[in-house]
């Protein structure tokens, strides 16, 4: 790890955080650095794409007061900007739901994608796409354009709830049971999704295929408007969980003795994970590994204190997803690779490395 001179807690003679064990100064520096990183990634993302509209040209025109061409305006404001915002929100949501889930299950291997919550949310989304038309008009009217993300949220919520009930006894989560139950729930959701694909009509199949690839290619203002409120709610709720998740690291009993309303916080955590995962899955399909890799890297740098980990995860998740999206647009340009493939290729090996690191240090 790099020793940052400005990462020390206070003053020139203050002992380093390696001695005091207080990593809050280092966490704050990390968060600041991540803010810069997200801004740079956002600028790069706005400037990247098949259309060949360069940010430099646009900037020169804007400064000299010249009008943008229609083409430039459409590419920037109707294609790249909603895609940028969708990518940031999806990345932040996936990383934060990973961090919250790991805190809730007290295990760094819990990830909505790995333990079937993503598949459950996917089932909800597919249900809404295929059978949505049969719902009572009243429900359709209330849900409106939010129907698919809401259905994904309920699918993710039900899966998380079942997973938690199955794998946790007396406040202790069995990791083996959690992973196996996750496989079972994921397979079940996959099978039900498969049945729905069989009965889907041609137009629905088209929707399903594009959605299932895990891509930001279909991102537009309409899709963003449907899912963004749900993701924003989850991202705003997450910081309220920080103290509770820190307490839960000591065990449920100890958390309660610290004054934490454990059951209420667990319910809120499950809702947050389901909302963030569900909405992210609804808008972008299956994008893997962000939820497990981001919190893990951050814990290595600044420790597991959730007061800092949750905002930092949101930032790093947003930035990394933007980078992955840029790669997906550049690597086989002018065509583009689904972003889920990019995150899997990059995230898979990192996940394996995490497993290897844990072997012999912590039993799982």
């Amino acid at each position: 790890m790099v020793a940052l001179p400005w990462g020390r807690s206070a003053g020139r003679d203050a002992p380093s955080d390696r001695v005091t064990g207080d990593r809050s100064g280092r966490a704050r520096v990390t968060i600041l650095a991540l803010v810069v990183f997200v801004m740079l990634a956002a600028i790069a993302s706005l400037g990247t794409g098949a259309a060949g509209v360069s940010l430099g040209d646009v900037l020169v025109k804007w400064i000299s007061g010249e009008e943008l061409t229609l083409r430039e305006r459409v590419v920037l404001f109707d294609i790249r900007l909603p895609r940028l915002l969708t990518g940031m929100l999806v990345g932040a949501s996936l990383a934060v739901s990973g961090a919250v889930m790991q805190g809730l299950f007290r295990n760094p291997l819990a990830d909505p994608g790995i333990v079937g919550v993503g598949a459950g949310a996917g089932l909800g989304a597919v249900l809404a796409i295929v059978l949505g038309a049969f719902l009572p008009p009243a429900i359709l009217a209330v849900a409106g354009m939010h129907l698919v993300p809401l259905a994904a949220f309920f699918g993710g919520w039900a899966t998380t709830l079942i997973l938690y009930r199955v794998s946790t006894r007396a406040g202790r989560t069995s990791v083996a049971t959690m992973l196996l139950a996750g496989i079972a729930l994921g397979a079940l959701s996959g099978a039900l999704t498969g049945i729905l694909v069989y009965i889907a009509d041609d137009q629905q199949l088209r929707d399903l295929t594009f959605w299932g690839l895990g891509s930001l290619a279909g991102a537009g203002w309409a899709k963003l408007a449907a899912a963004a409120p749900i993701m924003m709610l989850a991202l705003l709720a997450a910081p309220m969980l920080a103290r509770a998740l820190n307490g839960l690291a000591l065990g449920e009993g100890a958390a309660a003795h610290l004054g934490i309303a454990v059951q209420r916080m667990k319910n809120l955590a499950i809702l947050t994970v389901a909302a963030a995962t569900g909405a992210a899955v609804a808008v972008s399909g299956g994008i893997g590994f962000i939820g497990i890799v981001v919190p893990h890297l951050l814990r290595l740098v600044m420790g597991p204190d959730h007061r800092f980990l949750l905002p930092a995860a949101a930032l790093l998740g947003a930035g990394l997803l933007l980078l992955a999206d840029i790669i997906s647009r550049l690597i086989i340009a002018p065509a583009e690779l689904p972003i889920g493939i990019v995150t899997a290729v990059l995230g898979g090996p990192v996940f394996l490395w995490i497993l290897l690191r844990r072997r012999g240090i912590v039993d799982m």
């Binding site: 005091t20 064990g21 207080d22 820190n246 307490g247 839960l248 690291a249 610290l258 309303a261 597991p304």
Partner: protein
């Protein structure tokens, strides 16, 4: 005043506590002793709310179970038996978790974790990873966290309580004495201490009041000399024990060498 009355606990199908009761005063150290499986820890966990139980637990006349978690946390801290930490927190970060409620608003709050570590003999351990400490060191780091939660034994005229489940079980004799003195100082400063202990000699040395348990019931409770008698101890522990006292200070001690196995 802490009062637990008629506490019964059933774990699975087995009843493990049968109407046990306990009274503890602030300013004093109350120690629960008894053989393995007599229900010491179960009684403590019923009082702290870790276990569902029948009966009543009142703190200064208030129903303890009706208090909200955060207001309860202001009035008492609980040291569990060994616990497993989920993530790689440093010792400082674990202790800092005890910084809750009004104590966190003190101007010197940032310095309190290291002072709590000093009190348990872990000065300079803040930067180590909790999971890399030995069992005894982990127990003392947890004690520092618990101490921090009730840093002032009396807050706004209300005594605060420490519940300790076998606080010295993993410790060497030097640290056993250090922790016992710490608990006694907390009580002398006006706080209340309720501890589950195995060591009868440390109990005799430090307890102001002893609760002796057998088979899920309270066999006797009161002052050390009234409770730790040949008859009571021999009955509770199933072997003939003889209680002695030092001629000079009259301190009570029990030698295993003087026991006869029935």
């Amino acid at each position: 005043m802490l009062e637990a009355r008629d506490i019964s606990v059933t774990l699975g199908r087995k009843q493990v506590l049968y109407g046990a009761g306990l009274r503890a005063k602030p300013g004093a150290m109350t120690v629960i002793v008894g053989p393995n499986g007599s229900g010491k820890t179960t009684l403590l966990r019923a009082i702290t709310g870790d276990l569902a139980s029948r009966g009543t637990v009142t703190l200064d006349g208030q129903d303890m179970r009706a208090l909200a978690p955060h207001s309860l946390a202001e009035r008492r801290a609980v040291l569990p038996q060994a616990s497993v930490l989920a993530f790689p927190f440093t010792v400082h970060e674990v202790v800092r978790l005890g910084l809750t409620g009004r104590i966190a608003l003190r101007p010197d709050a940032a310095k309190l974790p290291s002072r709590a570590l000093e009190q348990v003999g872990l000065a300079g351990y803040g930067g180590r990873f909790f999971q890399e400490l030995s069992g005894g060191e982990q127990a003392r780091a947890q004690l520092a966290r618990v101490l921090l939660q009730v840093w002032e034994p009396v807050q706004d005229g209300t005594p605060r309580w420490l519940f300790l489940d076998e606080p010295v079980a993993a410790l060497d004799i030097g640290h056993q004495l250090q922790v016992m003195h710490l608990a006694r100082r907390f009580a002398r400063a006006g706080g209340g201490v309720v501890a589950v202990m195995h060591d009868l000699n440390l109990t005799a040395m430090f307890a102001d009041r002893v609760v002796l348990m057998l088979d899920g019931r309270v066999l006797a409770q009161g002052a050390v000399r009234e409770v730790l008698t040949d008859q009571n101890l021999s009955r509770a522990y199933g072997c003939r024990l003889r209680v002695s006292s030092l001629p000079a200070q009259g301190a009570t001690y029990i030698l295993p060498q003087a026991a006869e196995i029935a």
